[in-house]
């Protein structure tokens, strides 16, 4: 009997993973934060910059893009930042703090499945945000994008990887929810700035632009800007994001605690 169960191990683990995913998905929808952060914020920013763009048509001085075109990548990255730096670490730290991870760890399901389910749920929200921002900017606010699919997919994958792994590193290092709130909030603000929420790097120039381009969120916004106009992202942005993602992932797995 024990031998027979070895054969069905694969189906068992798939069974419990899909159940976990379903439950985590429902929880994310019940908890308004994830929806507001991942989809609400991008919609609001889309409308705000769309209206600004309509009020001042034409290219932004110093660039060949309109306001909404210049901000489409930044808005997408901002959605990733809120999900990856706030929702994801807060959820994991809360699960650890209330003993939920510990509780799951005494069942046959490894608690890492819980983390995987959380990642997938946040990823799904991020993808929904991307669809809304791209289609909304084109259909409603007249952005003339020319999305180059291979470049775009590469840029999206790396952007999400770098920001989500940064969030997991926070979840690994902070001891409690209140610290997660403080640290996550502070870093979120920094990443929003570096992604160009207040001033796009394309318009600032000089050393500040360089700093932005070599930051996790600035590199992401830069790569996405190229890819939505069907150009190859600068290799510096690709390398920057890859290095950050690898370092963050390594440190997060090294220091993550389940209890």
């Amino acid at each position: 009997m024990t031998e027979a169960s070895a054969g069905s191990k694969e189906t068992e683990s798939r069974g419990h993973f899909s159940e976990l995913l379903k439950v985590e998905g429902k929880l994310a929808l019940r908890e308004p934060t994830a929806l507001v952060m991942g989809i609400g914020v991008p919609i609001v920013l889309l409308v705000v910059f769309g209206l600004i763009g309509m009020a001042s048509p034409g290219d932004v001085p110093g660039t060949s893009y309109t306001v909404i075109e210049l901000y489409v990548p930044t808005i997408m990255v901002i959605g990733f930042i809120f999900l990856g730096m706030d929702v994801l670490p807060m959820t994991m730290v809360r699960y650890r703090e209330i003993g939920w991870l510990r509780r799951v760890s005494v069942t046959p399901a490894p608690p890492s499945r819980l983390l995987a389910a959380q990642l997938i749920v946040n990823l799904a929200l991020a993808l929904a945000g991307i669809l809304i921002v791209i289609s909304g900017s084109e259909l409603i606010f007249g952005a003339a994008l020319d999305v180059g699919i291979p470049y775009f997919v590469l840029s999206i994958v790396l952007s999400i990887a770098v920001i989500f792994s940064f969030g997991l590193l926070i979840a690994a290092l902070v001891p409690s929810q209140s610290v997660a709130n403080g640290v996550g909030g502070g870093l979120t603000f920094l990443l929003l700035f570096l992604a160009g929420l207040w001033v796009p790097p394309a318009t600032v120039g000089g050393p500040l632009a360089t700093i932005m381009y070599y930051s996790p969120s600035g590199a992401a916004a830069q790569a996405l800007l190229y890819s939505v106009f069907n150009s190859a992202p600068p290799y510096t942005a690709i390398v920057t994001m890859t290095v950050y993602a690898l370092v963050f992932t390594f440190l997060a797995t090294r220091y993550f605690r389940w209890e």
Binding site: E19, L27, I98, G99, W100, R103, V106, T107, P108, A109
Partner: protein, 324 residues
Amino acid sequence: MNHPEASSPLEGSHQGLEPVVTVQHLVKRYGDFAAVDDVSFSIKEGEIFGIIGPNGAGKTTTVECISGLRVPDSGSISVYGYSPGKDRNRIRQFVGVQLQESQLPPRLKVGEAVRLFASFYPNPLDPNELLETLGINKVEDSGFKKLSGGQKQRLSIALALVGNPKVAILDELTSGLDPEARRETWALIEHIRDRGVTVILVTHFMDEAERLCDRLALINHGKLVVLDTPEAIAAMAGGNRVRFVPSKPVDDRVLHSIPGVNQIERKERYITVSGTGDLAASVINSLSKIGVSVSEIEARSGNLDDAFVKLTREASDVSGALTR
């Protein structure tokens, strides 16, 4: 050699009750502090085994080692022949655990939680039946944060049992429950045992231990103080007491000559004797022989509370004496 039954310690007095959990010389240190210091016991199949002791005695650490949550510094543990350290994955399939102070995500619903946990195990119980047995089917659609203390505990029991475990470890199950909810929870634990599940119950409530447990391990300062049935441990408190009013004055010498009497206390017209055996009967018999009748008899057998206090105090006296 002439007594083959004696050479098989596994069988003991309970025939057919094999030890399913064996803990030998368990040691667990946190830094310099030995939370569990050379504890050994074995638990038979189908019994309710209680682990009692004062706060911080090492009860939780002991069961955490059995469930594989903590790795012992030395000693060995076997659960149905598997080691919680090495065969962790195997053990998790048939050991159900209820953790002290572990919560669920606030918006997770009762039914969802039980079904989710059922999906973790190869041969789970039917979640609907379990919810009904535990009396939480009516709150199936309520989120965890909306539940009362008693409902949370029932859910916690449900999660420990839904995997159809052979061994259930329940840690401080009834802390924070009102008396009625506690009684209901006790009935549930007996119900679990009747289904053939071996139950390891960690508690600091003596009434709970006395009522539920077949055998008790009293742990203090990380050491096993005593391991016996609740009745036997209760008897260690100096046993029984009888209080009565004699029809005429009785001398202390006379009272001391009554079989079983160890101590005498007088208060107003009452005499209280304590000792061992059937004290009330011997008091009545002995005194009637010298023409003294007794009235207002009140007999009390030794209880676990007294034994607990006495045994834990003795243990600290001993360690105090050793360091002196």
